[in-house]
């Protein structure tokens, strides 16, 4: 296998892969904040819907979530009489955002609840509103608790970006398949090894970034209480 010929081609596909990832990262974060807020405040009907959404994101395989987004979005859009503008890439972004948001919500909620009860009570007794309480007292401490879980969520997101080729998005995996077919499927094992290295490096970078913040965050924490979360696969 000619590595110098294959690697540039794969690297050219990297920007789209990273774009899908970053959209999912940012949209997922806001979705998670929204879902977590509803679940914490126990707004009647909406919080049950948020619970349902989180269990959908957590208990359905990501491939299936991607297919649901891919086939479901045109139907949903047709209901509002907008013409179908969805490419596989958009469906991949949306599917992964929904997945990441639901998963992240289940990182944020335990972190919020793990902050010492007294801190909540103190903020309440000082007359803080919900928003003030989140931004000034509970939030900074919860961030410290949530960081390891967030790192895991990030790594799962990177792993699951590898699945978007199944709905036809032209990411690194799909490009690798094209290259393999061009070489009459001779070097499949080697190609997948190369892909494994690429994804490991992406994970390593993400892990280093999260660890950098993990080292910094204790300055906001009232106690050294960081919830240990085992890195458990999520596909």
């Amino acid at each position: 296998m000619n590595l110098s010929e294959m690697l540039p081609e794969l690297i050219l596909a990297l920007p789209l892969t990273l774009a899908i990832m970053f959209v999912a990262l940012i949209a997922g974060f806001f979705l998670a904040v929204l879902a977590t807020t509803f679940r914490i405040r126990r707004v009647p009907v909406i919080s049950q819907l948020a619970d349902l959404y989180v269990s959908y994101a957590r208990s359905v395989p990501v491939v299936l979530q991607l297919f649901v987004a891919f086939y479901g979005l045109p139907v949903l859009v047709a209901l509002f009489e907008i013409s179908d503008f969805f490419s596989p890439n958009v469906a991949a972004m949306l599917g992964l955002s929904l997945y990441h948001g639901g998963y992240l919500s289940e990182v944020m909620r335990p972190a919020y609840l793990a902050v010492d009860r007294g801190q909540h009570d103190a903020a309440d007794s000082l007359g803080y509103g919900f928003r003030q309480k989140i931004f000034r007292v509970v939030g900074p401490q919860a961030v410290h608790i949530a960081l390891p879980g967030y790192g895991n969520a990030l790594i799962y997101l990177i792993h699951n970006v590898a699945l978007v080729m199944y709905i036809g998005a032209a990411d690194v995996m799909a490009t690798a398949h094209l290259v393999m077919q061009r070489h009459y499927n001779q070097y499949q094992f080697e190609t997948y090894l190369l892909l494994a290295v690429i994804y490991s490096l992406l994970c390593l970078v993400a892990w280093l970034i999260v660890r950098f913040f993990e080292r910094r965050s204790p300055m906001y924490a009232s106690a050294e209480r960081q919830v240990k979360m085992p890195l458990m696969a999520n596909v």
Binding site: S59, V68, H159, N160, P230
Partner: protein, 230 residues
């Protein structure tokens, strides 16, 4: 648009794949728990060279997405096995290995790394003082394990183990790439026959969510029952 009439036949068709999926998941769960416990044991006992090996194994299998591990097993295991069989002069065509065995090998390899982490965490939650107390009462190592350590460790590990059962169930959905028919793949096949894609996938979503609910529910019940007996 969404057609409600196909939901019932689709459901029946997709449900037919549930027993096989559960059987595969159970196999992978048992195998990976055994291997994971072995890894945790090696790390706990600080066995010199093996320990570094386990750490390296965990780093590798956590960094690589499962799809890629599955493909690596699909293209890598049969030739490797063929090499071994010819080395020992056995008459076996390794390329005739069924795909589901390759899927089991790949997923066991991945999940073992995570199971090791779970078992290690559960072992860390065990208070060493209790072991010392047991030994001072004249318990043998085996008795200590059976009567003191195991019941507490298994209780601490139940929620994580239930989670890993679900992870395995979901990971099996990647098997469709190498033609293993689980719930997701069956949904795809059903949809391909009648072109109602969204309907079949929605049915599969519901089935997965029901299974997840049942798994967490029974794990909760098991945890409560065991806690009462202690």
């Amino acid at each position: 648009m969404f057609d409600f009439d196909v939901l019932l036949p689709d459901t029946l068709s997709i449900l037919s794949a549930v027993p096989l999926t559960l059987a595969l998941a159970a196999t992978i769960f048992v195998l990976s728990t055994i291997i994971g416990s072995l890894f945790a044991f090696i790390e706990q006992r600080r066995v010199p060279v093996l320990r570094q090996g386990v750490v390296a194994y965990k780093v590798v299998f956590k960094g690589v997405p499962m799809v890629i591990v599955i493909f690596l097993a699909y293209y890598g295991v049969p030739p490797a096995l063929q090499f071994l069989t010819t080395l020992f002069g056995l008459e076996y065509n390794a390329h005739s290995l069924p795909n589901w065995i390759l899927l089991v090998i790949a997923l066991t390899a991945c999940v073992s790394a995570f199971q090791a982490e779970i078992v290690k965490g559960a072992l860390n939650s065990f208070d060493r003082g209790q072991a010392d107390a047991a030994y001072s009462l004249g318990y043998t190592g085996g008795q200590m394990f059976r009567r003191i350590l195991f019941p507490q460790v298994i209780l601490a590990a139940i929620p994580d183990l239930a989670n890993s059962v679900m992870v395995i169930m979901k990971a099996l959905s990647l098997g469709f790439a190498i033609e293993v028919i689980d719930i997701f793949a069956q949904a795809q096949l059903t949809a391909a026959l009648n072109y109602y894609y969204l309907e079949a996938f929605v049915v599969a979503v519901v089935i997965y969510m029901v299974i997840a609910y049942l798994v967490t529910f029974s794990a909760d019940r098991a945890e409560k029952a065991l806690r009462l007996r202690m």
